[in-house]
Every structure is written in structure tokens, then in C-alpha cells.
């Protein structure tokens, strides 16, 4: 491992290589399904087989078609066959065991009917309930119920207009203390936190270096900002260093002027691969080339590190090295929403210029209370040793 001296503990990552046979069979399988798909489309067009998906209105038949044929090919022929593995509704708290509604299909997954029976006590290995705060009993739930009767469910306004409750200020101070940063700001949705704040931080004339496997919200935020985007190979520090060197030496593509800002977008734990970012090396590179770091800890906050402070604590680094620490409350805290933490000037700037603060509603009060109680529990401030 290059730069091995930066790690306090051995950093072992093991990814299984896909065996050759499995890869070949997968591709052959795709090929066979595609051929069958074409055959069935042909039969549907010549009305030999009944067409079962929803179709356009009679009056609008001569409009330009809404979906191009090929776009929907995958959806119609491949996804429909295995559709019943996804989106199964549950009817209880997503805890260790979960109750699910039974669902059958009589026409090969085109439509589903619910039989009304509930399958009970299924072991749940699919929900993002890392610390078990999604339960519906206990202190968190009682606190949330009390706040619900006091403040109501909805806020009906944006942060800058009428939606700034004292609960929000309390939450933000708590989040800042939890992360060890100067100040923090909370938003209503994790996805929207990324897609609305990256455009506020960078614009045209800036460079964004983002990892190959970044989440859709980071990609959307980067696109909406209008900056130039360059992608480096997943968790590959040599690739990142090469891109940084190129950027500093060559500057902007046509004018050769230096970039206004260089922002590196990484995640704490990548949801698609399950790999952890090589944070010490990224921070060393960041300091050497004087760029900014945006760390998305959606999955790692509350889950990594001896006291749950995230990937920064896992590697034993200081939170002041990371310029923008972003995370969500959905996974470990059992609530909804996102936050951004950092220096006071950064957060004050975001309070004025973030799209979400001006146009989107703020967090709902019972949700805020759930986050406050669960965070206090993790920090050990509620007096028990559960955290």
C-alpha cells in the first residue's frame, strides 16, 4: 500500500474476483433474454400476443411517443420477469424481524394482488437500521410523540421564512458537538442535501474530482453546479494524484487560467461496493495540492469508529481536516434528513445561499426530536450506557 505510513492500523480490504464461468454465463443469459425480448415484441406488434402494459390514451396516439421503444425494452422484457424480488411492502417497524404483506401475481408479474395475509417475523437483512433506532418503543419514540403533540407534524415553510424552529437550532448545535466541528446545518432530505448544496459551494470555473462509484445525489449536485467534473478510479489514490497534478499544471481547459476551487467528492462507505475510503491518503493529497474535501458520510456516521463519530474517527484523524462533512440521519439515527458540518463561515454562507434554505421546507418537529434523542443516546448524554 502506497503511503502505508499514514495508517495507524492495517487497512485490509478483500474483494472477491468474479469467477470466469459466472461472468460468461451472465453475459450469455443476457443475450438469450434479449433475443426472447425481440421475439415477444414482434409478437406483440403483430397482435399474436396480448399487450399487457399500460398504453397511451386514444386521443393522444398521434403525439410524439413518451418513451422511446428501446428505453423501455429492458423494462418490459427483462425487469418484468424478476420484478417480484423488489419493492415488497412491509407492515411493521423495520427492526431485526419484520412483517411483510404477502403478494402474488397471476399473470407473471404484470400486476400484483395482495392476499391480505401478513407474513410475520421475517429476519430483516435489508433495512438500513444499523443501530436499532427505528423501534417504536422506548425513549426516542416517547420524546417524538410528545413533540408531535406540541408542535404538530408539518412546518409549512422554508428555513429562511417562517420555518426556523428552536428545535432546529438545538439540533444543529448538537450535531456540531457530535461531529467535533464548529457549526452544522440540517436539511429535510439526504438526497436533496447533496443536490442543493454542491451547486451553492462550487460553480463555473471550478473543478470537481469525484469517485467512480459516487451516489446519484452527488452526481446530480455536481452536474447542477456547472463545474467541470473529472472522475478518478474507485478508491485509487494514484489516479486521484494524477488528476490533481494535471489540474494544477494545466489549469482550465481552454484559457489555461488556474481553477477557482478544486473539490474532491468522496463517500465514507460506498453503498454499492461496501468499501471504505482511504481517508488518510486523501487528506494528505488534499493538503499537498491545496484543494477542498467533501465527505459524504451517509452510511458511515454512527456506524464506524469507537464512539460512532464516523470514518474520521475510525482512522484517528481530526475533523478539522475535512472541509465539508455531510451525512444523513436516515441510516443510523432512524429518522430522515441530512446535515452539513464544517467551519462557521462555511455554514453561515450556506444558511444564506443554500437552495434548500430558501425554497424547501425544513425538517418536521417529531423527526427532529427523534434525531436529538438518538444522538444523545449515542453520545451517552442521556445517562444510560445503551449508546
Amino acid at each position: 500500500v502506497h503511503n502505508g505510513g499514514l495508517y495507524k492500523r492495517p487497512f485490509n480490504e478483500a474483494f472477491e474476483e468474479t469467477p470466469m464461468l459466472v461472468a460468461v454465463l451472465t453475459y450469455v443469459g443476457y443475450g438469450v433474454l434479449t433475443l426472447f425480448g425481440y421475439l415477444r415484441d414482434f409478437m406483440r406488434q403483430w397482435k399474436i400476443e396480448k399487450c399487457q402494459n399500460a398504453t397511451e390514451r386514444e386521443e393522444q396516439k398521434d403525439f410524439v411517443p413518451l418513451y422511446q421503444d428501446f428505453e423501455n425494452f429492458y423494462n418490459r422484457n427483462l425487469y418484468m420477469r424478476i420484478r417480484d424480488s423488489w419493492n415488497r411492502p412491509i407492515c411493521s417497524v423495520p427492526g431485526a424481524k419484520v412483517d411483510m404483506m404477502e403478494r402474488v401475481s397471476h399473470d407473471y408479474n404484470w400486476t400484483f394482488t395482495y392476499t391480505g395475509r401478513v407474513l410475520k417475523d421475517i429476519i430483516n437483512m435489508g433495512s438500513y437500521n444499523y443501530l436499532g433506532f427505528a423501534q417504536n418503543t422506548g425513549t426516542c419514540q416517547e420524546a417524538a410523540a410528545k413533540v408531535l403533540s406540541q408542535y404538530g407534524a408539518g412546518v409549512c415553510s422554508t428555513r429562511q421564512e417562517m420555518g426556523n424552529l428552536d428545535k432546529h437550532e438545538e439540533l444543529e448545535k448538537l450535531v456540531a458537538r457530535f461531529l467535533g466541528v464548529e457549526s452544522a446545518m440540517a436539511y429535510g432530505m439526504g438526497f436533496a442535501t447533496n443536490s442543493m448544496n454542491i451547486p451553492a459551494l462550487v460553480g463555473k470555473g471550478c473543478l470537481i474530482l469525484s469517485d467512480e462509484l459516487n451516489h446519484a445525489s452527488l452526481v446530480l449536485g455536481a452536474r447542477l453546479s456547472g463545474a467541470t467534473i473529472r472522475i478518478f478510479k474507485h478508491n485509487n489514490m494514484q489516479s486521484l494524484e494524477k488528476l490533481l497534478k494535471d489540474a494544477i499544471v494545466h489549469g482550465q481547459p481552454r484559457t489555461r487560467r488556474p481553477w477557482k476551487k478544486i473539490l474532491i467528492l468522496v463517500e465514507g462507505i460506498y453503498s454499492m461496493e461496501g468499501s471504505i475510503v482511504r481517508l488518510p491518503e486523501v487528506i494528505a493529497l488534499k493538503k499537498k495540492y491545496k484543494s477542498y474535501l467533501y465527505l459524504d458520510e451517509a452510511h458511515s456516521i454512527g456506524a464506524l469508529g469507537p464512539s460512532g463519530r464516523g470514518v474520521v474517527e475510525y482512522f484517528g484523524l481530526s475533523p478539522e481536516d475535512v472541509d465539508v462533512m455531510m451525512g444523513t440521519f436516515t441510516k443510523s439515527f432512524g429518522a430522515a434528513g441530512g446535515y452539513i458540518g464544517g467551519k462557521k463561515e462555511l455554514i453561515d454562507y450556506l444558511r444564506t445561499y443554500s437552495h434548500s434554505a430558501v425554497y424547501a421546507t425544513s425538517l418536521s418537529p417529531p423527526v427532529v426530536e427523534q434525531i436529538i434523542t438518538s444522538m444523545k443516546c449515542i453520545m451517552g448524554e442521556d445517562g444510560t450506557t445503551v449508546g
Binding site: 408539518g154 438526497f191 446519484a216 437552495h355 430558501v358
Partner: protein, 336 residues
Amino acid sequence: FFSQIDVHLELEERLAKFMRTEEAIIYSYGFATIASAIPAYSKRGDIVFVDEAACFAIQKGLQASRSNIKLFKHNDMADLERLLKEQETEDQKNPRKARVTRRFIVVEGLYINTGDVCPLPELIKLKYKYKVRIFLEESLSFGVLGEHGRGITEHFGINIDDIDLISANMENSLASIGGFCCGRSFIIDHQRLSGQGYCFSASLPPLLAAAAIEALNIMEDNPDIFQTLRAKCERIHKALQGISGLKVVGESFSPALHLQLEESSGSRENDVKLLKRVVDYCMNSGIALTQARYLEKEEKCLPPPSIRVVITVEQTEQELDKAASLLKEAAQSLLN
């Protein structure tokens, strides 16, 4: 993927039944609803005709979709028709390309930035004449317009199947968090796989979904609250009419009005400061108002600074009269 709870299914069904459409889909954040719905259908190379006064969420959705955007003057059907005709002549030059470019019109039922309605019957006529699809954003008009609160389609008496997609957020009338889109299954089902805010994001907390269902129950059980709301809106609209220095912008039945300065002092900063003094005066005397907030550098067509006056059905008539007289006092003392 294990986040669809039976409460969500129930809410989707109730919304679809209430709006009398085939299907509805729930998003967990109001802003993300329209900002994910537009890019799911309109891609690079498609053409979208948008009103100038469209709200920021629509603008972000259009930016994310990378389509060609053509703005037409607010509520000006002649301008829209001119743009459509230009597009038609372009099409005749290149018929092969025209056969695959999709066309959309995006309008709002009640505009948040100006408080007036869009002329939906004329839009429907233009839709069939030039073969464009209509996306309607009903955040403000859902639960306000129409006899039973079904929005602008009920207000004008239009068949709901004529509108391709209706999107609304539950944060205004239903006092919950989140948003929904409703329409025919043909259109809505596509969003389950390609709406970014739906696939890549956590779903609504069950608490808020249950709150929305209760709110729908209340709306269905008491259809006369809409009449009461409309009466109150008209009352405050009339009461605010004579204020010197401030003019009222918005329809008489819109629950959110804007009060703009009659003569602007020339610079936006001074206008904002002046309006702030009016708001502070009212705040000290017991009426909470707010200025309408915009991101000045990011908006395409920035509306002039204004105070937003919002009414709820719970306020009594005395309270409304008191608010109006207080505003008159404030305007008289500060603006003359």
C-alpha cells in the same frame, strides 16, 4: 428497498382516489417531487415550454433534464402560441428529428411567485392543436381550488385525463412533508424506476404519511372548509386593497398574496430594507409576516421584492380585519 410500508401504499391509493386518477406515487420531499419528475421524462434534445414565473424547484428540474427550455411570458397565451408556431416551422424543416423530440409545457396551477392561476382551458386547446404534453404543478392549488379541493382541474371543470402529470407537494395544504405525482398508470409507473428522488432516497417516515392520510380524511369529510377558505381570502383581499404605497398582487381566491411596493425606489436593496421595516412593525404589534425569499443570483426571472401574506382557514374574521388595519397603519407611517 424494504422501505415501502403499508401506510405508503394506503396513502398512494387514497390520493389516486381523491384526485380521480389511476395511480399516484409518493416522494419524501416536496422540492424533490417536481425536480425528479421532469428529468424522468424529458431528456437531452426534448423541448420544454415553461412559464417565466415558474418556481425554483421546476427550474432545477429543467436544469437537471438538460432539455431545450423556452420561456414564455407569464400567463401570456399569445406568446406561447408564437413559440409553438416557431417550433412547428422548425419541425417541418427536419421531420425525422421532429418525430422523436418530445414536447412539454410546464405550468403551475396557482403560481407561488405571483398568486394567479394559469388559463388551463386555453392550454388544453393548444395541447391538442400542437401535440404537446402538459405537466401541471399544483403545490398551492391542491386543497384550495375546486369544489372539493381537487385543484385547478376541478376549478375549471376539465377532465383530469387531459393533463398528463399532476405534481403537488403535501407541505402546503396537507401540512405534512413530502410530495406526490398523480396521473395515468402509463405515465406514473415510469417514475418508479427512473425518478431519482424516488429510487435513490429514503422513503417518507410513516408518521408523516399517516398525518397526510388523516388530513385527506378531514378534507373529504368537510368539503365546506374550501368555501370558508375562499370567503376569507376574498375578505382579506378586499381589506388590503386601499393601502397607500403597497399594491396587492394575486387572485382574490388565492390564499397566498404578495404585497409589492407601488413605486420601487430603484434599487432592490432599498426596497427590501423598506419592506423589512414594515414587517418588523407588524411583528412588534402581533402579526407575523415574512418577505418572500429568493436566491437572487440563481433565479431565471427574479420577481420584485414583496411581503407574502398567507391565510389559513383557522383565523377568525376579527383577526383578519385586525391584520389588515395593522398593515394599513404600518404602510402609512413608514412609506409616506
